[in-house]
Symmetry: C2
Subunit: 328 residues, 2 copies
């Protein structure tokens, strides 16, 4: 099959590109660390073109992008869409990169659009996301009707509330970033050592810490330093210290978010990939939740593909892979 569109998830510190055919299937993939921080210095256009060329894309293949490339300090600002937002609003908010798709210069440069993020404009609880809204766009079949709560773990974990397919609210927990700064910059680094591998979901120290955080309603204030004390007094092993910190932070996030969003029938749609998805699935089950897991990578591809369809890039009769993003 021939590529129909280049789909790009451009985060703060990561770049991922897929060439998709007209049915949304992946024909090629590129991953690098050239996120917004790198691209702001080296140029977004050159980095994108380098990866498109390496993936074998033609010069006129259109590209749809989500994530921090649309931030004010990114390539072109794609202003936030304000809540409540339907996915039509998100997909319609795509901003063209000027000088592209206009037939300037030799040949016909490709068309490039950047999707907007979402903003919860509120004096008390302002919040923003960039990238997750595109995953949500790819997962619409999962929450098209009724009220749903969606957990999207990461450096900045998002919990999202959707009603009849409209995003009505969300909040952000710094869980991943807290793990990072506490494990490398705080006194806890002496307990965790260089051990950076995530724990397995059935690691006893992870399960115990998660259960503790849940049992305390998320109050892990006095539990963090305990990791250090357990190293000094009880010879806590570094891998157990790391699993404990992970369990405490994830358990605290879930306790806090459940209280805030009160998922109907305790059902949570979990959008994640890899080891983090397994840890959250285990923690959510410990919390008594039913988990409907969706793959975050598939979701963002489906959302980008859906946006390309709405832009008319796929032809009128194309069908998307959105429903494939449901995991069993």
């Amino acid at each position: 099959m021939k590529p129909a569109v280049a789909a790009v998830d451009w985060g703060t510190s990561s770049f991922r590109l897929w060439l998709l055919d007209a049915a949304g299937m992946v024909l090629a993939e590129r991953r690098s660390g050239e996120g917004m921080l790198t691209a702001s210095a080296e140029g977004f256009g050159p980095i994108l073109e380098k990866h498109l060329a390496a993936a074998g894309a033609s010069e006129i293949l259109p590209a749809i992008i989500c994530g921090m490339a649309g931030a004010r300090q990114g390539w072109i600002e794609a202003p936030y869409v304000t809540l409540p937002a339907g996915l039509d609003g998100i997909l319609a908010g795509a901003v063209p990169v000027p000088g592209q798709g206009l037939g300037q210069g030799g040949g016909q440069p490709r068309e490039i659009r950047i999707l907007p993020g979402l903003a919860q404009r509120s004096a008390e609880t302002p919040d923003v996301m960039r990238g997750e809204e595109t995953q949500l766009a790819g997962l619409l079949p999962l929450f098209a009707s009724g009220r749903h709560v969606i957990c999207m773990p990461g450096t900045h974990s998002k919990w999202v509330e959707a009603e009849d397919g409209v995003i009505s609210g969300f909040r952000t927990w710094l869980t991943g970033e807290l793990f990072s700064v506490l494990s490398t910059q705080s006194i806890l680094r002496h307990s965790l050592g260089e051990n950076a591998a995530p724990p397995l979901p059935d690691t006893p120290a992870f399960v115990a810490a998660c259960a503790e955080a849940l049992g305390q309603g998320g109050d892990i204030g006095p539990s963090l330093f305990r990791i250090r004390a357990a190293t000094l007094l009880n010879d806590l092993a570094p891998e157990d210290a790391s699993a404990t910190l992970s369990g405490l932070l994830i358990g605290a996030e879930i306790a806090s978010a459940r209280r805030m969003f009160n998922p109907p029938a305790n059902k949570v749609i979990l959008v994640a990939s890899g080891p983090l998805g397994s840890l959250y699935a285990a923690a959510l089950k410990l919390a008594g939740c039913t988990v409907l897991a969706a793959d975050a990578d598939e979701a963002v591809r489906a959302g980008l593909f859906e946006a390309a369809k709405r832009l008319g890039w796929m032809g009128a009769d194309s069908t998307g892979p959105a429903s494939e993003s449901l995991a069993p």
Copy 2:
């Protein structure tokens, strides 16, 4: 008056020395950043002698030390005293620095002792302190009878429970360290900027954030990223971002610690100095607590002096300044 003892509070990153007379009054003071981290590299003895000489101390003036100099990675390990611990136990646990006070070499070297820390040896809630136990020793008159709860804010805030003058339990909150790593290492640094001055206790953003954290029972998980979002969406000023982070963290600590220690009659003995003391006093009052404030510097001097008395260094009839550490 002639110096009777050198009293030293030797922390991880700070060194403070006072020459005290036989009544415990301060005759000279030295402060530097030559804490354990520096002294481990440059030698504890040379740094102590340099400051003693600069303060005009004689070669035989005895020195009593508390803090991280007694840690395993310090000068000489002063093993933790295990809870429940009376102050006699703490003061009796002073460890002599070998080769001092033995008349070796030319002249008569000074006698030097290092006070032990406290350990809560427990599988579930292990905890340790080094330095605060000496402040507590200096404050005994405040909690000699009945049950009391003591708040000792700092990089690692300690909340202590004492019954009839015996330390029965304590826990540690990473509040100061969390402020430090979040404000300099996390995404929140973009919101706080270089603004490092602590807020005033009546700063509206501090008061509001503190009240919010207290109202949410200490659950500030989703409130931290809100600082970043408020910068992006609502133009939150850096000084208000800093005051908000400070209020959230202090409020969360107080909510958590109150639930855990349930202070009798909501009375909390607050042991702190400077701006941090004022912030905690304001936050504790917001939480509905009655605050009995004691100065941390005076407390540690009183504790060190009390230890010197127990060692017989002051003569039999000396009286201490312990009661002076009560602030109005």
